[in-house]
């Protein structure tokens, strides 16, 4: 395998990173809403949140992506395949992140919240200063794993014709008849990206722990 082919793969991996990062960030905001719904006292909101999480965690991402890709034009939203892919990935990761956040919020020690209450913090201040930071700190390892999961899952958006690392590897493999080195190189690039993300995750955990016993 030539350097030229490897360079093409590395360039395509930029799209993998771009789509994954966009989906993880969008998914995080969406997951906050879903998590709020699940933890809400409102029956309808909590049922909706639970159904959302159950559906997107209970069906293969490949089918979610294809469903969204074909459904959007039918309901009058003519978006490009890359936008459809980002929507699909975001919805899926939102479900996983919401479940992770829910676990995090439910593990915040009651005593901390009660203490904040006793000190006279408002509900909003308690949320912003106590519950949110503690929940995020508790869930950082799981959120890192979820980010890695989405980077790997982003390979599936190749089926709706979005150019990224796996699409490029597939095209190069069929045009050069060198599937073995090309797919191995693609795997290596994914591995490196994920190791870097795992490293960032550990750094973030360490930073979040600083100053906390």
């Amino acid at each position: 395998m030539s350097w030229e082919l490897f360079r093409l793969l590395v360039e395509a991996s930029g799209f993998t990173i771009l789509y994954s990062a966009a989906s993880i960030v969008l998914g995080f905001f969406l997951s906050a809403a879903v998590c709020a719904g699940m933890l809400s006292q409102n029956r309808a909101a909590s049922t909706a949140g639970r159904l959302f999480v159950s559906f997107f965690r209970g069906t293969p991402l490949l089918i979610q992506l294809l469903l969204i890709y074909y459904l959007l034009p039918q309901i009058g939203l003519n978006v490009s395949s890359s936008v459809a892919a980002i929507i699909g990935l975001s919805l899926c990761t939102a479900a996983y992140q919401a479940e992770i956040l829910r676990g995090g919020f439910q593990s915040v020690p009651r005593g901390l919240v009660e203490a904040a209450d006793m000190c006279g913090l408002s509900a909003l201040a308690t949320f912003r200063r106590i519950r949110l930071p503690v929940a995020v700190r508790l869930t950082l390892p799981a959120l890192t794993s979820e980010a890695i999961m989405i980077i790997k899952s982003s390979s599936l958006i190749s089926v709706v014709g979005v150019v990224e690392l796996t699409t490029m590897a597939k095209d190069l493999a069929s045009s050069t008849y060198q599937p073995l080195p090309i797919f191995a190189a693609a795997g290596l690039i994914y591995l490196i990206i994920n190791l870097v993300v795992a490293g960032f995750g550990l750094t973030a955990e360490r930073a979040a722990r600083r100053g906390h016993a």
């Binding site: 559906f55 069906t59 293969p60 089918i63 294809l66 074909y70 390979s155 796996t166 599937p179 795997g187």
Partner: protein, 232 residues
Amino acid sequence: MTSLLGYVTGPDGLNILSGLINTIILWLVGSAFGAVIGFLIAVARRYGPRPLDLLLLGYVEVIRGTPFLVQAYLLYFGGPYLCAGFGETSVCLTLDPFAAGLLGLSIYGSAYYSELFRTGFDAIPRGHIEAATTVGLDRLQTLRRIILPEMTMLVLPSMVNMTILMLKETAVLSIISVKELKFQVDIIGNRDYAFVESFTILALVYWALVEICGALGRAAEARLSRYRFAHS
């Protein structure tokens, strides 16, 4: 609804059924192989020599750090180029889609299952094993009577999660033309230009299977709860 029944009772029904059966075979056999190989990896890493532990660590990290689709492509398209010479003859890893899919799933699952078992081993309190030794159990008895039952309880919830993940990964195999459920329904969807309908039905079928698996897992957990012990 009548048109749906037409699909199921018509000639398409047989294709859908064969796809569903293939999906379930791939899922259950792939998970079983994955769990057994994963268990062996976890045991080898715990009791084996250090170089073996490092080698297996590399295996687990590579499998867990790369997409399943890329692994499937590598196995299915790259396999025929992966040859080993034995004197005059050379053997290549040329697999039909189903075999490649099953092998791929087993390899993929083994890495994840091995990590579950490894955390399970680590979570068993040392005192329990020491107590077993003190009352005169040998290593095999300790494994069979203490470690395995306690570990089953510890890893069961994550085992169920992983097995659900395996079911969802089987759908990816349709991309390398394994004739499982998604592959068969795809054919009908393409033919009748009914993409949204076919993917909606697929989603509902997988969702139902996942919920059934989850419910079975919770039932097993409740039944095996006599092995649960208080964490010290």
